[in-house]
């Protein structure tokens, strides 16, 4: 579904991503994990077309992508951003935020689509005409997910979708994303610094460090605690050492 070969991105003299390769099969959930500044969000930006200065090959659904993307691309691929507070226009009501993609693509019956999309993310009609400042962080992220879903895309890019949320709300949003993928057969690329989130959501993952992929593996290997690379083992230890009980409790909610 998505094939990335020797993707490099540089901002001025800083090389943020170096020769990154990976591929994601249709219906698969692929995780990109790494610490801050490892270039994982930049990879998503390049795939989505939000970052222009990249080199290498990006192909989505078999079609090689250039600097500019066409409408069909946008209908196929959508994204959920990290910060739910900055991702929604502060002067637009939920109805407009969620309906805007449908209006841009000239779809019919925008109102009914908005209602359906909001229903799928668990927001009732009472939320339809609220402004973002009237919503909690978790509700905002649900609105962002509804906005991404209204075009009925096949691929969803998730850029740390829960890292700005409370732990209890994180689990709700992750379960929502997992359910949507199961129902719709969506393909996910999930970026996170949290190995527990990746282990919960993904089938395969790549570990990034300093702009490179240091290891790619299946999630069973991660669960078994047997990564080959020392860096991955350290990352794993760090994620467990942070709060073991919470991390295990989180996994048991699946």
């Amino acid at each position: 579904m998505i094939r990335v070969e020797s993707l490099s991105v540089s901002f001025g003299r800083v090389q943020a991503v170096r020769e990154v390769p990976f591929h994601v099969a249709p219906g698969e959930a692929f995780g990109l994990v790494g610490e801050s500044g490892s270039g994982k969000s930049t990879v998503l930006g390049a795939i989505a077309g939000l970052i222009q200065d990249w080199s290498g090959t990006i192909s989505v659904a078999g079609q090689p992508q250039g600097r500019r993307r066409d409408k069909a691309f946008h209908k196929r691929l959508q994204m959920v951003f990290q910060d739910p507070y900055g991702a929604l226009h502060p002067r637009h009501v939920v109805d407009r935020i969620v309906g805007e993609p449908a209006a841009i693509h000239g779809l019919d019956e925008v109102g009914a689509r908005v209602e359906k999309a909001l229903g799928e993310v668990g927001l009732g009609p009472a939320f339809r005409y609220r402004y973002p400042h009237q919503l909690s962080g978790g509700q905002r992220q649900r609105v962002a997910i509804a906005r991404a879903l209204i075009l009925e895309p096949e691929i969803l890019l998730l850029d740390e979708p829960t890292s700005a949320l409370d732990v209890s709300v994180q689990a709700e949003v992750l379960n929502l994303l997992a359910r949507l993928r199961a129902e719709r057969g969506l393909t996910y690329i999930l970026v996170s610094h949290d190995l527990a989130v990746i282990a919960h959501m993904c089938d395969r993952l790549a570990v990034m460090r300093d702009g490179r992929v240091v290891e790619e593996m299946g999630v069973e290997e991660l669960r078994a605690g047997a990564p080959r690379e020392a860096y991955t083992r350290r990352l794993l230890a760090a994620s467990r050492g942070y709060d073991r009980a919470a991390a295990e409790g989180f996994e048991s909610t699946t």
Binding site: A48, G49, H74, I97, E100, P101, I104, Y129, R147
Partner: protein, 310 residues
């Protein structure tokens, strides 16, 4: 279920206030009106701002009903009744040609309002378009648009207005054009600065990822957020615009006789300043009050619209 709907969506029959304050609005219009009503509640708490609003509303009302309010013709001369003091048949006295000053003042409100409205209608959109485009596109578009802005910003306002009026000929239309041309650059700067701060925000990236065109993003997403600071700045600038227009009128380059214009009225009254003070004082006071009104209104609007506090 119906009753529940009424409560949560705020039925209109429960009173307009409840409808406006409803936690969950039932339509985009209700949500928008509710936001405006909440802003009005904040605005209302500031007595100075309400005073400013009252003055500006008063100016509009006076301009609308001028012919019925004036009582006398603003241009009809009566040389037997020159320079009469206030009182009797002429509330504010008469000027050197025996014209009723109150009537001229009231008709002058129309000229002032026309200048203010047209300058705002020309300068604010031009500034918004230039600034938002420069900030959003960046690169060479930004460089070109902002250098043009700098050229206009480099001229002192009254001097450039004088040059324009001198080139195009005196008259109210040319004065308005000249003021508008010198008024927009600060708005472009404000709009650009605000656009740059929101250009990289998530909701703009999301709009790009939805395939929105640049014009759609600018008009639908960027301008609504930048316009409030520009509106505040325009309101605060209106006092300056009125003074510039009066200054041009004073120099004989604005509205031409016999049209009643406050600046020209002061210029005419200058010769009698000591003995017939009311000839110059009445229009001077009018300029003062209206300028003050716009400044107070602008201050109040800033408290309501400033995104840092909103």
């Amino acid at each position: 279920m119906k009753a529940l709907d009424d409560r949560s969506a705020g039925s209109f029959s429960a009173g307009p206030r409840a409808w406006l304050m409803a936690e969950a609005a039932g339509s985009r219009r209700q949500a928008r009106l509710g936001r405006w009503y909440a802003a009005w509640l904040v605005f209302r708490r500031n007595p100075l701002a309400v005073t400013g609003l009252a003055i500006v509303c008063g100016l509009i009302v006076v301009a609308l009903v001028a012919p019925w309010l004036a009582g006398h013709s603003p241009i009809e001369q009566n040389l037997q009744a020159r320079l009469l003091p206030p009182g009797g048949g002429h509330w504010l006295g008469t000027d050197a040609l025996g014209r009723d000053i109150f009537a001229r003042l009231v008709h002058g409100a129309r000229i002032t309002l026309l200048i203010v409205a047209l300058v705002a209608a020309i300068a604010a959109p031009v500034g918004l378009i230039m600034g938002c485009s420069a900030g959003y596109f960046g690169g060479w578009v930004d460089a070109v648009l902002m250098r043009i802005t700098d050229v206009f910003l480099a001229f002192p306002r009254l001097i450039l207005a004088l040059a324009f009026v001198a080139a195009l000929g005196p008259g109210i239309e040319n004065a308005i054009l000249a003021i508008a041309i010198t008024a927009w650059p600060p708005y472009a700067r404000i709009a650009r600065a605000e656009t740059i701060t929101i250009r990289t925000s998530g909701f703009i990236q999301a709009a790009r990822l939805q395939g929105a065109s640049a014009s759609r993003i600018l008009v639908g997403h960027v301008v609504p957020l930048t316009s409030s600071s520009v509106i505040v700045r325009v309101t605060l600038d209106m006092a300056g615009v009125i003074l510039t227009a009066a200054g041009l009128g004073f120099l004989g380059l604005g509205a031409q006789p016999p049209v009643a214009e406050w600046g020209a009225m002061i210029a005419a009254g200058r010769q009698f300043m000591l003995d017939q003070w009311w000839v110059a004082a009445a229009p001077g006071l009018a300029i003062l009050v209206v300028s003050l009104g716009f400044n107070l209104l602008g201050d109040g609007l800033r408290d309501v619209l400033d995104p840092k506090h909103g």
